[in-house]
Symmetry: C2
Subunit: 173 residues, 2 copies
Amino acid sequence: MFSVKPVTGVFLYTMTIDDLDARLIALLAAEPRVGILEASRRLGVARGTVQARLDRLVAGGVVTGFGPDLSPGALGYHVTAFVTLQIRQVSGHDPVASLLAAIPEVLEVHTITGGDDMLCRVVARSNADLQRVIDLIVEVEGVVRTSSVIALDTPVAYRMLPLVAEVARRRPG
Amino acid sequence: MFSVKPVTGVFLYTMTIDDLDARLIALLAAEPRVGILEASRRLGVARGTVQARLDRLVAGGVVTGFGPDLSPGALGYHVTAFVTLQIRQVSGHDPVASLLAAIPEVLEVHTITGGDDMLCRVVARSNADLQRVIDLIVEVEGVVRTSSVIALDTPVAYRMLPLVAEVARRRPG
DNA sequence: CTTCACACTGAACAATCTGCCCAGCGATCC
DNA sequence: GGATCGCTGGGCAGATTGTTCAGTGTGAAG
């Protein structure tokens, strides 16, 4: 079920999935309301099989949850931007990250390679409101400089299914 | 239920949510397996109320689905990177976007303001594998130049709950 | 070749939940 | 005074869930 491979000196778990797993994931993604029983009918396998597969996917960390997908836009946050930060070198990344985490409009924070230190995804209600959010970020202790780009359109929204299909394809069940 | 406000000339729907909505969303996010009935018990309201609220949130677009949350890392894709692209001006964004969408490792594509034209989130199995993925992107017709930063760490993973709580706080139920 | 481990099937069970209906009640709006 | 709306609390038949069990086929190991 698991394979262990060294990646930059650290051992990371990697789960292998087959075609049935991929079809199950795709089905759940397409119609999340279907139950285990209905899924087993759609996939043409026994209910216990679907249950076991799903348990395995969850246990293996491939499926991390079934939380509701939320749309910032529907809540009035129609502007998405990516903000890169430069951090004062003496202070570590962590205190800055926790201060950023306190800003609700900051949806995501990464530390990154390159000339900048951090990349944040932020949302705002308008371009003017984005200025307010950026001001909140600039005021964070340890943040030296910020640079923002606004996402004008999102031709490909976050998706995992093609990758799941690709992984299953390479390891046929 | 809805308010309509002009944003850059386009009218966008914005749904208002109250404290109960926010608590329902938080509960579903924390324990997605709880059914409507159990949720109503936890929230201390009638089952019909929970059902109505959830229907409203879905109808209003705040909750867009309940798809499984998938972890690229568990599938062996331990490297995340952000790639910015410059596009040949004559060709529009759309054909480039659809070619990028054909690459499974490209999880997300935005068109952006600033010196570059597009921002992609990509994953790869290793740093060496990232080179392969970037090569795939560079080979896309219309892509002139790319620039990549690797996400070293993710101190704040994508999250919406604080924003939901903030929205509900501003409009107490 | 034999044996074991494993995964899948098909079935059964009690317990629970769902979708749907209804009547009543309090607050708000005309 | 109505009328509308949201919430409550109840009931109903039907479906689903969690769980267990025995039987079967396949692949790997001895």
